[in-house]
């Protein structure tokens, strides 16, 4: 060592050894860049694959196959007028028409020999809605496009059962098939018939669950974070609380589900499979995430700001609410939305508290039986009926769009509240 220091020979910066060192340094840099690029490319590839398969499968879920059915309304209804299906007595008039019977009759006449279940079970309800929307239809001969039965839907979109394929071929020959936008999917609820299912009930259930979660987890989480950072004495007890919160954030979600089952359902007797209990359970899960994110955000507020405020006689509460909280808010919001996004995608705890029930109508209130998007996806993916495959993918697209929206909101809020120094 000492010898090198006193070594009189000057360092040969242009020599062979130095050149080799430089070359190997450059090579290391190139290797690192290549590996980084590959990592990014790989993750992009996975994302593209996910989106591609989801979109390829799922977009079909937003479409439905429709069959042209000719209705000779004057003959079928023995001369109903537009006036008779409007006004206060419209309901009774429509009921007395026996629309399911009419549909069966019309289909029977037109497509005799093609089997008896060409249309989905909801077709009669569709006709009824069309008549309510446009009473004039009832006075003349009409061709209405009605949603096809799920087997035909599958056979028309891709490959289905041989019998259904044959029917589709026969119908196509008559030019009686087309693809339409499946509004029912956006407005309906779960059903046994895949051509009649909708995502709205699950979407609304998720929305209500998230609302409960946010309402509970956000204020409690933020207050806990502020108290722990700004007020709590630093002692063994707060150390233990900190460790517990960190551990709580890592607890598997199904355990929170069991906790919710034991506490909210068994002890407090809250309504099973309701958005209220789902929201409370997910709030338990989200709160530690918000506390941790909140504490980090509060910690990153420069102490000089606190000193400045204290130095002109602000009380500790004023320091927190006038200075610390506004500066920490972007970080808190980002953490909150990450926690909420995780809660939105959570299935296991909701299964535990019974949100896996078959829900044929959107929940009206927070205590009604409800389901959530990820649970609905799970339930549909479990169905044997071929028609549910694309519905599952379509539901995943809806969930991903929901998530994307939440992340966009997080970015917007962060930029909105960010303080420029």
């Amino acid at each position: 060592m000492n010898k090198a220091v006193i070594d009189p020979t000057p360092t040969d910066w242009n020599g062979h050894i130095m050149q080799k060192r430089i070359a190997s340094r450059y090579a290391a840099e190139r290797r690192f860049k290549a590996m980084g690029f590959m990592a990014v490319a790989l993750s992009t590839l996975f994302l593209a694959f996910l989106l591609f398969t989801m979109l390829g499968q799922g977009l079909r879920g937003f479409q439905r196959t429709e069959i042209a059915v000719e209705f000779d309304f004057p003959a079928l209804t023995s001369g109903a007028t537009a006036a008779s299906v409007t006004g206060p007595n419209a309901d009774a008039a429509l009921n007395s028409m026996d629309i399911p019977g009419l549909v069966e009759l019309a289909v029977g006449q037109q497509y005799a020999g093609l089997g008896d279940s060409l249309l989905t079970s909801a077709a009669a309800a569709n006709v009824r809605q069309m008549l309510i929307d446009n009473p004039e239809l009832v006075t003349s001969k009409q061709t209405l496009w009605l949603p096809a039965d799920s087997r035909l839907d599958v056979a028309f979109k891709r490959k289905g059962e041989p019998a259904a394929e044959k029917t589709v071929a026969a119908l196509s020959e008559k030019d009686a098939l087309r693809t339409g936008f499946n509004w029912t999917f956006l407005t309906g609820a779960d059903a046994t018939d895949p051509s009649a299912v909708g995502i709205w009930a699950a979407f609304k259930g998720s929305l209500m669950t998230m609302a409960i979660t946010l309402l509970l987890a956000f204020p409690v989480g933020v207050l806990a974070a502020l108290y722990l950072e700004e007020y709590a004495p630093k002692n063994r007890l707060t150390d233990m609380i900190e460790v517990s919160i960190n551990n709580l954030a890592a607890v598997p979600s199904i355990i929170f589900g069991l906790l919710g089952l034991a506490v909210f359902l068994t002890i407090f007797g809250m309504p099973r499979s309701s958005a209220l209990v789902g929201g409370l359970t997910l709030a338990l899960m989200t709160m530690p995430v918000i506390v941790i994110a909140g504490r980090n955000a509060v910690k990153s507020v420069p102490p000089s700001i606190r000193e400045a405020a204290l130095g002109i006689g602000a009380s500790p509460v004023q320091v927190v609410f006038h200075h610390v909280l506004p500066l920490a808010l972007p970080g808190i919001l980002t953490g909150t939305i990450i926690g909420m996004a995780r809660a939105l995608g959570e299935t296991a705890p909701l299964l535990m508290i019974g949100m896996r029930a078959f829900i044929p109508a959107a929940p009206e209130g927070f205590t009604d039986a409800a389901t959530a998007l990820p649970v609905q996806i799970y339930l549909w993916s479990d169905e044997v009926n071929q028609g549910f495959v694309e519905k599952t993918s379509a539901a995943i697209i809806v969930l991903l769009i929901f998530l994307l929206g939440m992340n966009a909101l997080a970015i917007y809020l962060r930029n909105r509240f960010e303080t420029r120094w």
């Binding site: 000089s304 700001i305 000193e307 400045a308 002109i312 006689g313 602000a314 006038h322 500066l327």
Partner: protein, 264 residues
């Protein structure tokens, strides 16, 4: 420790702040050792001494900013106009309004210039309306020598100002609550010489209206701005007296050594 050290800072008369046998501890470590000092109301008092001598610690115990430091403990008596500031009857929030502070690093709030100055009067309810608040803001900025520079951009962020302007904004913010004492903790250490000169001028102008205590590393600065100087070393108050006296004819060898640059 000899007896002279204990009584070195006593200056009977009508002091603004008077401390007796003050000890400050950080946990087990004693940072300030039996300091007794009387601070004038009309003069600027400078605290000088080498790094780590406890002068900032002592300054921060005068408005109880040490309360926020975990493990900090103050013993002894600190009187503001004869009132014990560590008594349970003393409201610490009001104390800090009466004893304002300017920090080493300019620390304006990330708010507008107007809101920076108006914050103190607002939380203490010193203005009864918008007009009066405007007046306080203008008055404070004028006294801090910043008004002409910022009067057209009061809504811009305080953090967008230059370092020297930021420090004057902090002084304006401190005087906006009409304090009786202003503590300055190395207010110029982060500033260039021109900004430093402005602050020193400002301290001259503020003298008499407020009792000012300034902690500084810069001995020329202490000589320029203060009338009385206290020299701290290793947590002890070594010497306290007229600034001219301290710099030209110190009684203590340690003071002389420090002032002549032998250590520190």
């Amino acid at each position: 420790m000899n007896k002279k050290d204990v009584n070195v800072g006593e200056n009977p008369g009508n002091p603004k702040i008077s401390t007796r046998n003050v000890n400050v501890f950080y946990g087990d470590k004693q940072a300030i050792n039996n300091v007794s000092i009387d601070v004038d109301r009309e003069n600027v008092t400078a605290f000088i001494g080498p790094s780590g001598c406890g002068k900032s610690t002592f300054l921060r115990s005068l408005n109880r900013m040490n309360d926020t430091v975990i493990g900090a403990r103050v013993e002894g008596e600190i009187l503001l106009d004869g009132q014990d500031i560590y008594a349970s009857s003393m409201d610490v929030v009001q104390l800090r309004a009466r004893v304002g502070m300017v920090f080493q690093k300019p620390n304006p709030f990330p708010k507008s210039i107007y809101d920076n100055v108006a914050y103190g009067p607002r939380i203490h309810g010193l203005a009864s309306g918008k007009a009066e608040l405007d007046q306080i803001v203008e008055g404070s900025l004028t006294r801090a020598g910043l008004w002409t520079e910022v009067k057209d951009r009061l809504n811009e962020s305080g953090t967008a100002l230059s370092g020297g302007q930021q420090q004057r904004l902090c002084i304006a913010r401190a005087i906006a609550v009409d304090p009786e004492v202003i503590l300055m903790d190395e207010p110029c250490s982060a500033l260039d010489p021109i900004a430093t000169a402005r602050i020193e001028e400002l301290i001259h102008d503020l003298r008499g209206k407020y009792a000012i205590i300034i902690v500084t590393h810069n001995m020329q600065q202490a000589a320029r701005v203060s009338q009385r100087t206290a020299f701290f070393h290793l947590g002890n108050l070594i010497e306290f007296g007229e600034t001219s006296e301290i710099f030209t004819n110190p009684r203590e060898d340690r003071t002389k050594d420090y002032i002549t640059g032998r250590y520190g």
